[in-house]
């Protein structure tokens, strides 16, 4: 007998498999899972129940459920696939659907993290260059201050430059600016409010 664990995020597909095979002698659906992670948990439990011993590597039948078993021919095809593989199934066969949602979610998170990383790198690069430019502005202003008379027009003007520079240094040091910049870049172009929960380095 082939024991089957069916994995799909679509309940209809899981139902179809259970209905199609639960009464077949050769094949018994022993478990259902909505995601790969859940499948791994289920598998572990099932292994213990079936064998009472250590788990062996299960055979995985991937993506044969795409047709959703609408026709008898497809069911036959699956049966043939499973039966042909029977010798290889020591413990259990997994029938895995597309898991499209899961894949999409994983891909979304992956792209999102890459996006954040590249924005972080970009922001870091800009900040680096900006701070160096500001260093030159503030540095030479400070040196020039030495040769101007306190209270004179040039002195006052240069003090304003220093104050403006210090304001940036303060803003930057609070780190809130870094976060604001990154949130803005992430959310505004996508038409969302700045409410993503994440931390920035």
């Amino acid at each position: 007998m082939i024991r089957v664990l069916t994995i799909d995020d679509n309940e209809m597909i899981r139902r179809t498999i259970v209905q199609n095979f639960s009464e077949t002698d050769d094949i018994k659906v022993v478990g259902e899972a909505v995601s790969g992670y859940e499948a791994m948990d289920k598998l572990e439990q099932l292994q213990i129940e079936i064998d009472g011993g250590p788990m062996t590597q299960p055979e995985i039948v991937v993506d044969i459920m795409k047709a959703e078993l609408k026709t008898q021919a497809e069911k036959e095809r699956l049966l043939v696939t499973l039966k042909n593989s029977e010798k290889r199934f020591r413990d259990i066969a997994m029938i895995m659907g597309d898991l499209e949602k899961e894949k999409e979610t994983a891909e979304y998170h992956f792209h999102q993290s890459q996006r954040m990383e590249s924005i972080g790198t970009l922001a870091g690069g800009i900040a680096h260059d900006f701070n160096i430019i500001l260093s030159a502005i503030m540095g030479y202003t400070e040196l020039s201050l030495d040769d101007t008379e306190e209270g004179s027009m040039p002195h006052n003007c240069m003090m304003e430059v220093m104050t403006a520079g210090q304001a940036w240094v303060w803003l930057w040091s609070t780190a809130s600016l870094k976060v604001t910049v990154v949130i803005w870049q992430l959310t505004v172009p996508r038409g969302r409010g700045p409410c993503l929960p994440f931390t920035c380095r």
């Binding site: 870091g124 690069g125 900040a127 680096h128 260059d129 900006f130 701070n131 160096i132 500001l134 260093s135 030159a136 502005i137 503030m138 540095g139 030479y140 400070e142 040196l143 201050l145 030495d146 306190e150 220093m162 520079g165 210090q166 240094v169 930057w172 040091s173 380095r201």
Partner: protein, 150 residues
């Protein structure tokens, strides 16, 4: 902690700044920033050897490691980073104090700097008072890591 010395003729604004006469190797790939640092430190009484390249700086240091009391270096430089250069210098002379200045740094950089034995760490732009104080403190044997700004 910060001693007040009047070794160099200073402008009125600088009178309250800590000074010194130690020998400093100043490394930065930005020529314009080297000039600023050199002038500030010279005004404060220090003897400054500027270097625009980390590779050159390492060779200068290797040739005469006892000729410098302090290394000040930028972090991001072409060729060898300030961090790598500092590590190489500390291999040659483990007790040499190093101050790392950076245009932008992450928490990781800051933690790494402490781990490899960097004595001072600060973010650019650095004004004269900040420079004077961090240099004096590190030369006096204190660590001066600007935790807030990392």
């Amino acid at each position: 902690m910060i001693e007040k010395q009047k070794r160099a003729p200073l402008s009125p604004d600088m009178e309250n700044l800590p000074t010194g006469n130690e020998r400093v190797l100043y490394v930065d790939d930005e020529e314009t920033l080297i000039k600023i640092g050199e002038r500030h430190l010279t005004h404060l009484g220090y003897k400054v050897t500027p270097s625009i390249s980390s590779n050159d700086a390492l060779e200068i240091f290797r040739a005469a490691p006892q000729d410098f009391d302090l290394i000040i270096t930028d972090m991001t430089m072409p060729g060898m980073t300030g961090e790598t250069m500092a590590l190489e210098m500390m291999k040659i002379r483990p007790d040499v104090p190093v101050i790392l200045f950076t245009g932008y740094s992450s928490q990781v950089n800051w933690e790494k700097a402490i781990k490899i034995g960097i004595r001072g760490f600060a973010n650019k732009p650095i004004v004269r008072r900040e420079l004077a104080e961090i240099v004096r403190r590190v030369l006096d044997g204190y660590d001066c890591i600007d935790k807030e700004n990392s």
